[in-house]
Amino acid sequence: MNPLNNILTYCNEVAFDMNFTKAKQWKAAATDRALIGFLPIYFPREITHAVNGLAVGLLGVGDRKQIIKGDAYYQSYICHLPRGIIELALDNSLDAFDGFIFPSICDCVRNLSGMFKLAEKGKFQRYFDYPQNFDALIGGVFYGQELNKIIEDTYQVNGVKLTTENLNHSIALYNTNRKLIREIYNIRQEYPWRLSAVDTYTILRAGLVIPVEEHNPMLEEVVEIISEERGEPMDNIRVVITGSFCEQPPLGLIKSIEMAGCYIVDDDFMLGSRWIQGDIDAHTEDPLGALTHAYLTDSTFSSAMYDVGNPKGKRLVSLVRDRNADGVIFSAASFCDPALLDRPELQKTCDEAGIPHINFQYHENTGQFKVIKEQAGTFSDSIKLWA
């Protein structure tokens, strides 16, 4: 097998393992380790890493697990992601986890934090409130307090104290991780045929369940491989996908879009891993302050953040231009209020900028892609025709 295939086989195995075997093995290797699950979108994993913890992304169960108990906890008009997460909790797949973080992205995730409290899952269940005020002395102070709560929670689990040196070290490792991911996206922008969107997705998703020390060399190898020519360019259009930041689209959906003649040159599938857009200061006396500063000033745009003054529409259009994309696919989970409530305005901004777009909704366990494939195919054809 060639090296890329080896990486992909491994990533496929770990990224979609709903038993989180690798993460559990990692934890079992020493007594002072903490395993922390976090939900989409963004969580500064550095603060867990620095205290001997592994932050594992819980992105739903997709089509990898049958929902047996979870449906009894959610009405039909609530998105699919939380029922998969509660399924994992109730069938004890998450028993080795010490704590859970629920970022403030929507009311479903917020209330799921309470469900974990009621079900007494983990030693702590922390709702992580993103400040919606971006003044360093107001929202910044609040964000620092939120981070400290999680640091204290983790300390109660494994007794490991946070040090400046450790946090700087962790920040440096995640800077490398983000930088390598940026490189992959940049190479794909020029040569999207060298690594498919499905493979890119799988490699990034694996990074949410294994230690960053293991993920970084893998990414380096991928960068190296795709820096060389491989694959065949096709007569495809180039699209940006937006709206899939939380409940993840099934792999079949991503594949269908590609097969319909669209190169996905940017997306928000693994937005949390790409949330901070540049490097965070890793040589500072105040690394918590550096994380805060990065959140306030260097976050990407997202439906979970208040955008007045820096509208998402404008930022989406810039992204499309930067990536030299032909169009946008609005692809949101059904019943996802944050993504769906943003959609009309984003579409309008695209219209004003002359950017063609289509939209559809999915569930993480959608099994039929025929319609989506046809829609994407027609979109691709129409762009080629008018180009």
């Binding site: 009894a72 919606q132 005020n133 107001i138 609040f142 769906l340 009309p344 909704q361």
Partner: protein, 435 residues
């Protein structure tokens, strides 16, 4: 007997409230002439006293949406918004409001509502609020937005850090924007004075809602409750008028207690109280009367509800405090029902079942509202387990009539009432055996 043939009882408090609302909407319709500034904001975590202290007028888009629902206008407004690209899946309050705006922004009294001079995004207990006002910001370009981020009570309590964060936002962002829009300086003394009135009205409301502990309950704390909370949850908290209204309402309710009377319904007084229920979740507005009728026809009275706590859980002791006005606004916002975590919500509801001696616990799960609905099935299990009362579950929507299936809801409720009836008989038999 049909609703049309019976004369609805109009108590003095109802007339007072009607007049208050008429005056409010009239005042809103003449802002062009009076020059008064208008602030759009939300019910949970509203800063009414602060807005009024600047002589500005609040408008609550949620109230407009529910009024549109009651006036059977919401279906077309929602369609209008869906044509604009809003998904069928999202909160219908937002769509109804945007549809209403696109249709001329005509308020419940038939008068046109003025556009906002300020969008006060009191981001309390509901994520959708943020999305809603981000959309309004685009529909009213150039109108300033003041964001007040209310931290969630994730630990089941309000911490000093959270209060400080909110007060800083008030001082550094919200108040300066209000000063700019209104052209007036912030007057803390005036705000504090209003809070004395707020606390008086809050005391009275608590006593009014607590009256449902009597048997028979003199009030329905859900269907009539939504009218009782109107003034204090919206434009009148902090005013003399609100105190007068609640004083009158309190006297009326106490008179009913003295006379041993049941609640007033649209078809007159309810004669026999058969079941006492606690209800979680907002009501349906498009078929409000029909919905209520299913209950009073069966002799079911709602003795406590979470919906009447969305604008403040005053029964837990919070009062606006004139000695610390800004801190008190912060605590008020954080204390609202949907800003409480799930274990707190369960404790509150379980307490209602116990204190109000309820026979059952019912959830009206609203399609639109993840803030309420996500997790409700777990709340239901917890209450059933802890309180050992029969639980019921129905589904509807706030203002989208496509999601109110009368036959379905009626069937479900009738089966539920039957179950409550049988349980009552069994329990009575068991009590007889003991004695």
């Amino acid at each position: 007997m049909s609703t049309q043939t019976k004369e609805a009882i109009k108590e003095k408090s109802m007339i007072i409230q009607k007049d208050m609302l008429a005056r409010q909407f009239h005042e809103l319709s003449i802002t062009k002439e009076t020059g008064k500034k208008v602030v759009y904001t939300f019910v949970p975590g509203n800063l009414t006293e602060l807005i009024l202290s600047f002589d500005m007028l609040p408008v609550y888009p949620e109230i407009n949406a529910l009024q549109s629902g009651m006036r059977k206008k919401s279906a077309s407004y929602i369609k209008e918004a869906e044509k604009m690209g809003f998904s069928e899946d999202v909160c219908t309050y937002v769509k109804c409001d945007i549809g209403m705006m696109l249709n001329g922004n005509i308020g419940p009294t038939g008068e046109k509502l003025p556009p906002p001079d300020l969008l006060l995004l009191s981001y309390t207990g509901c994520f959708t609020f943020m999305k809603w006002f981000e959309n309004l910001e685009h529909l009213y370009p150039g109108v300033p937005v003041a964001m007040l981020h209310t931290p969630y009570q994730e630990d089941g309590r309000i911490t000093p850090d959270q209060v400080e964060y909110m007060v800083k936002q008030l001082k550094e962002d919200v108040i300066p924007k209000m000063e700019k829009v209104s052209g007036k300086k912030f007057d803390e003394e005036r705000l504090a004075k209003m809070m004395v009135n707020s606390a008086k009205a809050e005391d009275l409301l608590v006593r009014i809602l607590a009256s449902a502990k009597h048997r028979p309950s003199p009030i329905d704390a859900y269907f009539a409750g939504v009218y009782y909370i109107g003034p204090i949850f919206t434009a009148f908290r902090g005013t003399e008028e609100a105190v007068e209204y609640y004083t009158e309402l309190y006297d009326e309710v106490m008179e009913r207690v003295r006379l041993g009377l049941g609640p007033v319904t649209p078809e007159g007084e309810m004669k026999e109280e058969k079941f006492r229920l606690v209800v979680e979740g907002p009501p349906n507005w498009t078929n409000f009367r029909e919905f209520w009728k299913i209950f009073y026809d069966a002799g079911a009275v709602i003795v406590a509800s979470s919906y009447t706590k969305v604008g403040g859980v005053y029964d837990l002791g919070f009062r606006h405090d004139s000695t610390e006005p800004l801190e008190s606004l912060a605590k008020y916002c954080m204390g609202c029902y949907t800003n409480m975590n799930l274990p707190q919500r369960v404790d509150l509801l379980a307490g209602y079942v116990k204190d109000f001696k309820a026979d059952g616990f019912l959830i009206n799960s609203i399609k639109s509202c993840n803030s309420f609905s996500a997790g409700q099935l777990m709340i239901m299990r917890e209450i059933e387990h802890r309180m050992e009362v029969p639980v019921g579950f129905i589904e509807s929507d706030l203002v989208d009539p496509r999601y109110f299936s009368y036959a379905n809801i009626k069937n479900r409720l009738e089966s539920y009432f039957q179950m409550l009836g049988q349980r009552k008989i069994i329990m009575e038999q068991e009590t007889e055996k003991i004695f």
